[in-house]
């Protein structure tokens, strides 16, 4: 398959997801949240994962991390990190690998911090779990440096999560994610609550860390501008599938799938005020089984699903 040849062109893939399928069971039948998603991330690469809200991005992230929890379950596919199958690995082995190789910035950073532990303890937890006990002073310095990296004041060290603003919590999560300098960071909307100044700082931090360590990143997000600035390749999800994937420049210049085109068109501008592009999307019922759309290479390394006759109607202009 052509994707394979594409892979060999770029470096060794650090993450390889094949035909991942995740379902949520509900009383009214399974919700097919991820319907056969395949992609890979090369060493040092940043892959952007964008897509409609509810298209399954977070579910993919959780699947990759083997954190799908009931009622969700992985019904098929494989995920390998550095060539090892994450999904088949014994729990203990996986646990040791977590965070050192696979870190996560969760989407709900607001609720992802333990409300009864201070910031310092939550960060210390990861460090000490994976690197063993450390002298208090060294540890504190290290945590403070991390906080500084995400532009947080030192006083945050002693605070509890509920004493932080939304953006601060999100930055705590980021600081935590880079604490162990992991080889792959999955960041689920890591900067959605940050002002652009901080966003930029944090993005830079992420990039620096990445560059220094040669780590890779999957950056889930909505902000196409941010994606344009940060990622190497970009994958577009729609209704549980990747409908287009390719180098960021190519994709921005030549979007193929109607949804991608719409996405790019609706980016607001700061330069001029223009009428909002509003379209009504009609998605398939998430419970009906549907085929995984075949991707074809539209240009080098740029794959897109050819919208079939029915799919054309996916995007309908707002009246």
């Amino acid at each position: 398959m052509s994707e394979r040849s594409e892979r060999s062109r770029r470096g060794r893939p650090i993450l390889d997801v094949r035909d991942l399928r995740v379902h949520y069971s509900t009383p009214h039948g399974d919700v097919i949240a991820v319907n056969g998603v395949s992609f890979s991330v090369a060493e040092g690469e940043t892959l952007g994962l964008v897509g409609e809200s509810g298209s399954g991005k977070s579910t993919v992230a959780m699947g990759v991390l083997r954190l799908t929890s009931p009622p969700g379950r992985v019904v098929g596919g494989s995920v390998s990190v550095k060539g090892e199958d994450i999904l088949a690995m014994p729990e203990a082995a996986l646990r040791r690998r977590r965070w050192r190789e696979l870190a996560l910035v969760p989407q709900g950073s607001m609720n992802s911090l333990n409300p009864v532990l201070r910031v310092r303890d939550q960060i210390r937890d990861v460090i000490e779990t994976h690197e063993g006990k450390q002298p208090r002073r060294r540890l504190k310095e290290r945590v403070l440096r991390l906080l500084d990296l995400v532009n947080l004041p030192a006083r945050v060290y002693d605070l509890y999560p509920h004493e932080l603003s939304g953006g601060m919590k999100q930055r705590i999560c980021i600081a935590m994610a880079i604490a162990l300098e992991p080889s792959l960071i999955i960041a689920d909307e890591p900067t959605s609550a940050l002002d652009v100044v901080v966003q930029r700082t944090v993005a830079q931090t992420l990039l620096t860390v990445k560059a220094e360590l040669g780590s890779s990143m999957v950056l889930i997000g909505h902000d196409m501008a941010l994606q344009a600035q940060l990622v190497d390749r970009i994958a577009v999800m729609y209704a549980g599938n990747i409908v287009e994937i390719g180098p960021v420049r190519d994709l921005f210049r030549h979007p193929h799938h109607p949804y991608t085109r719409h996405l790019i068109a609706s980016i607001p501008s700061i330069r001029e005020r223009k009428p909002l592009v509003v379209k009504d999307l009609r998605r398939p019922d998430p419970r009906t089984p549907r085929p995984t759309p075949a991707l074809s290479e539209v240009s080098t390394g740029h794959f897109a699903a050819i919208p079939e006759a029915g799919d054309e109607g996916v995007v309908i202009s707002h009246a």
Binding site: L67, L94, L104, N114
Partner: protein, 336 residues
């Protein structure tokens, strides 16, 4: 302190004294509401041994006078308040002239020792079981075993106690049958005495632990279940924390909060003792003392014990209120 303002602390401490006064007042009047007094109890009890007590009317009058039971209630009440303020509980009316203080002093260490240890053990065991019942990673075998361990809670306590006595004392001869320690030993901090105290305390403690563990477990399980879906647990798992760390530092730490309140309340109440345990095992504690006090209308004994009970409970509650913001940083006592 976190979440506490000075004003709050002052108000709270004021309430502390108010509550003590209110409870003490209630407990002054309650035992006096029923007909009968310690003297008639004493005389009736004497007749049960001696058939009849001659001149009982004269005896009753003389004692009532001596105990001041004929004084106006207000006078008695003021006398009582003064006594409580100075921790002078006076003489037991039923066991006159034994001082209430001495009786309580004799019984209290036993009760506190036994109940403190067993309450804490129960709490730990029950909470742990409850946590494991709700934990995803609990081994299958344990999963079956845990609810089974709780069926002890379903067996009426006294049956459990008696079965323990039969099995461990009479069938196996592992433990002494009753009492607090061997009588041929003098209390002291030597090995023989402590060993004997432990031997005597094991069965009563065991029956308390087995019988009430289930309630803690159920409560804990309920809270674990409430916490289980939280996002921070997912992140904790993603962080690769050791499963036990996730369990204790994240799940249990959040789920345990109401349990702690209940525990502190329970600890505050332990000086009240457990009548049934002490009865079954002949344990020389406060529960039996209070029970005898109540059935004999021994006002001063009731008042003495209940006053200590009030002090400890109200203090425990005060402590809960003051430390709770430390346990749960989200709490504020800010008025809304």
């Amino acid at each position: 302190m976190r979440g506490l303002s000075l004003g709050y602390v002052i108000r709270r401490v004021g309430m502390f004294f108010f509550t003590i006064w209110a409870s003490a007042t209630v407990m002054f009047f309650i035992p006096r509401l029923a007909p009968g007094d310690p003297v008639s109890a004493m005389v009736t009890r004497l007749t049960s041994q001696a058939g009849r007590v001659e001149g009982s009317a004269a005896l009753i009058t003389a004692w009532r006078q001596r105990f001041g039971l004929d004084d106006p209630l207000l006078v008695q009440y003021l006398r009582y308040l003064r006594g409580m303020l100075t921790f002078d509980f006076g003489y037991s009316l039923a066991q006159f002239p034994t001082e209430v203080g001495a009786m309580v002093g004799r019984a209290m260490p036993w009760t506190i020792g036994l109940l403190l240890i067993s309450t804490v053990l129960t709490f730990l065991a029950g909470t742990l079981i409850g946590a494991l019942m709700a934990w995803r990673r609990t081994p299958r075998l344990l999963r079956w075993f845990l609810p089974v361990s709780l069926t002890f809670t379903a067996i009426p306590f006294y049956i459990l106690g008696i079965v323990l006595v039969y099995v461990f004392v009479f069938a196996l001869g592992l433990f002494p049958v009753s009492g607090g320690y061997r009588n041929d030993l003098t209390p002291g901090f030597d090995f023989a005495f402590i060993n004997s105290v432990i031997q005597h305390g094991t069965l009563p403690a065991m029956s308390i632990v087995l019988a009430s563990m289930g309630f803690w477990a159920l409560g804990m399980r309920g809270m674990m279940v409430t916490v289980a879906g939280e996002d921070y647990l997912t992140l904790a798992r993603a962080k690769g924390l050791r499963p036990l760390d996730v369990l204790f530092r994240y799940e249990v730490r959040n789920a345990i909060l109401p349990q702690v309140t209940a525990l502190v309340l329970g600890l505050g109440g332990i000086v009240g003792g457990t009548v049934l345990v002490e009865y079954l095992f002949g344990y020389p504690g406060m529960g039996a003392l209070l029970y005898q006090g109540i059935t004999n209308s021994d006002f001063t004994v009731i008042q003495g014990i209940v006053f200590i009970l009030i002090l400890t409970t109200v203090t425990a509650v005060l402590i809960v209120d003051l430390i709770y913001p430390l346990l749960d940083p989200r709490i504020t006592y800010e008025r809304r």
